[in-house]
Each structure stands twice: as structure tokens, then as C-alpha cells.
């Protein structure tokens, strides 16, 4: 499955928002008003879903969907 689609599905399902609300180039704080606790939960969910280690410093409220995909992609090929 396309990584971007999967990231959106994980976040939409976890945060109970619509997939359309998650914009490729808009930060999570600006698109869905994500809070810090939701970010902790999101990082854990993405780690479980993709089987990679992610740092809360790398993925923050200011990350866009594209930022998250770019963070996960290289780890998938190495881990």
C-alpha cells in the first residue's frame, strides 16, 4: 500500500478525523489542531503500523503528512 495513504488511514482512524482533513502540505496543528498528547499517540500508532522506530522530535505538531512520509520511507528500506 502507498505509504501516504497508510499514514493518513492510521492518523484518521486514531484521531477520529476525516481523511480529507489531513493535507499533504499543511502541518497537523494547522489542519486538524492536533495536541501534544495526540502526537504521542500518533507516533506510537505509526511505529506499530510500519514496524519502525520514530522519534517524537522528528514527528511533531508542525509536521505535514509529506514530512511524516519522508521520515518513514528511508527507515522502511533499512529496518
Amino acid at each position: 500500500m502507498d505509504i501516504k495513504i497508510k499514514v493518513k488511514e492510521v492518523l484518521a482512524n486514531l484521531l477520529k478525523v476525516k481523511i480529507e482533513e489531513l493535507k499533504d502540505e499543511v502541518s497537523l496543528i494547522n489542519s486538524i489542531g492536533v495536541d501534544s498528547t495526540e502526537m504521542v499517540e500518533s507516533v506510537i500508532a505509526l511505529e506499530k503500523s510500519f514496524g519502525v522506530k520514530l522519534s517524537p522530535k522528528e514527528i511533531t505538531k508542525n509536521s505535514t503528512i509529506n514530512d511524516i512520509v519522508n521520515n518513514i520511507q528511508p527507515k522502511l528500506s533499512t529496518e
Binding site: 484521531l15 477520529k16 478525523v17 498528547t37 504521542v40 499517540e41 506510537i44
Partner: protein, 413 residues
């Protein structure tokens, strides 16, 4: 101290959600105590309660928020919305720094807490929701309601067992009387119908074990009393100064005119048997309200349905009201829906407001053979009384006494 107006009521209870449904059920004298169905409670010594099963129908809270909060915060959010609507207040038009929230709670949000603690031991730390830390503790509803409405004024959560919400109302009045805020959402919420909370309530030892007759189990002041029954819910009101309420043309449902609180200082669990400190709290509240005992037209009883507590409550009332006590209607309507612990005082005050509005005292259920026969208990069915001043008694574990005096339209008949 200055009288403070109540201009909106929000109620979430086993006897109904919203003040109309709540009052319709109360005046009909119908019991809402049932066997607990939320989980298998059959092995608990006491497994009956006043339970709310249809909160979602009245809720506008998003799924996204619901997963972060416990049921007691959800109840507080629904009750707050109803109170604001009833008061005709759009909080967006208020100065948020001059709006406060004062809530009472006794035990916290255990449904959330115990589920996550289970996951901690089953799955390790990664199994625990990050919302756990902000969902379970007694001040969580205050936080959630303040975030939801953008409330930024001085606010408090009072934790004082069953007297919590009565104290929150008394405290809120004090803050408004000092002109520190424009308005306050005040009251309390409790959600004890969970496996662990029910266990703790059972351990307390004061619950009725009459599981085979849920509707007849809670019988305050009756010779056959065997303890109280827990219930869940929230009662929240809008409080503001009388001039402000008049200026904006609000419907003043009643005013809080007096408050008194004392401690028995006698035992870790029990109250003192002589009722003297409760009597002192009642006198403080009456004096604060500048109301003579003979002016009180309705007394809302705490009514724990435990010998020591009921007897000391009546002893206190006799100390204050003397021979006139037999002329004042007394009732404990929570016998219909359960004791909402930290939210019980707020519900009792809301009932007193509705009593004064409708000229009808809601009954105490199951009071068939009073321990003391010469008092004016309103038992079995509602009775008409024109009431302009009410006294509301709340008591907590170890002998915490909290008493409110509320009046109809400033006490004018």
C-alpha cells in the same frame, strides 16, 4: 454576603437528562434504581445503582474528544451545555477571563483509569493511553469544560466526598460575591458505576445489599433502612450576580443566599452522633442568608439511610428548628435515583430550585415507617407546598457538613 443568582440548570441523572425530564420523573415518585448492567457486578455484595444508559443521545461531544475523557467529564460537558442553553448564554459573547468553573467530585474517573491500568499490566507501558494522565483525576472535568468553552477565569475543583459539589457551589458564590468573575458554571459530577469504584463503595460498608429489590433498597429515615445506593450523573448551574442577570433579562431560577460548612472532627469514616457540628453549619448558612429558621419552607435531607447518619441529621435539625421542625416538609428525593456522591449536593440544590418553581415537594421513596414519626416527611408521593426558602444539607465521610440556603426570586413570595 451578597445573594447570587442561578440562571441556568443542566442535569444528567438516572431520573432523566435535562431539567424537564428530570422533574417529570421526580414528581411522579418513580424509582430509577436497577441492577447494574454495565458489567457483571453480580458478585459484589451491593450491585444495584442509578445508571445512565442514554447519554450519547443528548451529547454533542465529538468521537475525537470522547476517546480522551472519562464518563464523568462527558456528563459534565453535557450538563454544562444544558445549563448554558437554559441560561441563554453564548459563551463566545463573554469575556473568558471573567468566566469561572467550580465543580465537585469525590472519586475521579475510574472507568478510564481502571481500563488503562489493566492494559499497563497486560501490555506494558506502551499499552496505556497517553490520555490516562489527564482523564482520570477529579479536576479533569473542570479542565475539559474549560477547554471546550475557552473559560480562562479563576476556577476550582473541590474534593470533599459527598459534600464536594455543595462546597463548590458555596465557594462559587463567595467568588462571585467578591466580584472576581462575571459568571461561573458550578456543580458536580460523579461516575461510580465501574468495577473498581463500585468495589470501593462496597468496602465503605454503607451500601444497601437489598439487591433483590432495587427500587425498595434506598430507604432513608425508614425503620427498615439498610444503607444507600450509588448513582451517577452531573448537576451544573450557571451562577451570576443578580444585577447582571437582571440587566441581561435572564430568568432568575433562584438565588443562593447562605452557606455554612463545618467538620465533626470525630472519626475517619463516621460522623459524630450528636449532630452539633451539622447544626452549627446550618446556623452559619441561615445567619449568612439572614433567614430565621421559621422562614425555611423545605429541607432537602442528606439521607444516607444509615442509622448513625440519619439520626444525627435529625438531631442537628432539632437543635436548630426545635418544635417547629414538625411543620417543615422534609424530603430526600435522591432515594429515587441514587446518591451521586460528589455530585449529590448539586442535584439536591437543583431539586430545591425546581421545588420552589413548581410549588411541589418531590417525595422520599420507601419511607414507609419513619424512625421518628412526628416529622413532616414527604414520603411516597409529591406534595404541594409553596416554598420560598430552602435548606439543603450535604454531608461527607468523616463528618464534613456543607449547607446551602437557596431562595426563590430573592425570597419574595
Amino acid at each position: 454576603m451578597e445573594k447570587i443568582a442561578i440562571t441556568g440548570i443542566g442535569v444528567v441523572s438516572p431520573s432523566g437528562i435535562g431539567k424537564r425530564q428530570f422533574w417529570a420523573n421526580l414528581k411522579s415518585g418513580r424509582s430509577f434504581i436497577k441492577k447494574i448492567t454495565r458489567f457483571d457486578a453480580s458478585l459484589y455484595p451491593a450491585h444495584i445503582a442509578g445508571q445512565i444508559d442514554d447519554l450519547e443521545k443528548y451529547s454533542h461531544i465529538s468521537e475525537r474528544l470522547l476517546k480522551k475523557i472519562d464518563a464523568f467529564s462527558h456528563m459534565a460537558l453535557v450538563a454544562s451545555e444544558m445549563a448554558l442553553q437554559d441560561a441563554g448564554i453564548d459563551i463566545k459573547n463573554e469575556d473568558p477571563s471573567l468566566v469561572g468553573i467550580f465543580l465537585g467530585n469525590a472519586i475521579g474517573g475510574w472507568l478510564y483509569a481502571e481500563t488503562e491500568l489493566r492494559d499497563l499490566y497486560l501490555e506494558g507501558r506502551e499499552g496505556v493511553s497517553p490520555y490516562m494522565a489527564s482523564a482520570w483525576f477529579p479536576a479533569a472535568p473542570q479542565g475539559q469544560v474549560s477547554i471546550y468553552y475557552g473559560i480562562k477565569g479563576f476556577s476550582k475543583t473541590v474534593v470533599s466526598d459527598r459534600a464536594s459539589s455543595s462546597m463548590a457551589l458555596g465557594y462559587a458564590r463567595k467568588v462571585l460575591a467578591k466580584n472576581k468573575l462575571n459568571m461561573i458554571l458550578a456543580g458536580g459530577m460523579e461516575a461510580p458505576v465501574t468495577p473498581y469504584a463500585l468495589l470501593c463503595c462496597n468496602t465503605y460498608g454503607a451500601l444497601s445489599k437489598n439487591n433483590n429489590n432495587p427500587q425498595g433498597a434506598y430507604r432513608p429515615f425508614d425503620k427498615q433502612r439498610s444503607g444507600f445506593v450509588i448513582g451517577e450523573g452531573a448537576g451544573i448551574v450557571v451562577m451570576e450576580s443578580i444585577p447582571r442577570a437582571q440587566e441581561r433579562g435572564a430568568n432568575i431560577l433562584g438565588v443562593i443566599s447562605g452557606y455554612g460548612t463545618t467538620c465533626d472532627g470525630a472519626d475517619r469514616i463516621n460522623c459524630a452522633s450528636d449532630g452539633k457540628e451539622l447544626a452549627r453549619a446550618i446556623n452559619m448558612a441561615l445567619s449568612d442568608a439572614k433567614v430565621n429558621p421559621e422562614e425555611i419552607g423545605y429541607i432537602s435531607l442528606d439521607g444516607l439511610a444509615v442509622d448513625l447518619w440519619d439520626n444525627s441529621e435529625i438531631a442537628a435539625l432539632k437543635l436548630v428548628f426545635g418544635n417547629n421542625l414538625k411543620n417543615i416538609p422534609l424530603s430526600c428525593p435522591k432515594s429515587m435515583f441514587g446518591n451521586l456522591l460528589g455530585a449529590s449536593g448539586a442535584l439536591d440544590m437543583i431539586i430545591a430550585l425546581l421545588t420552589m418553581e413548581h410549588g411541589l415537594v418531590a417525595p422520599t421513596l420507601n419511607l414507609e415507617a419513619p424512625v421518628l414519626n412526628n416529622l413532616n416527611y414527604v414520603a411516597g408521593e409529591a406534595r404541594e407546598y409553596k416554598v420560598s426558602k430552602s435548606l439543603i444539607i450535604s454531608r461527607g465521610r468523616g463528618g464534613i457538613n456543607s449547607v446551602l440556603v437557596v431562595e426563590k426570586n430573592g425570597g419574595k413570595k
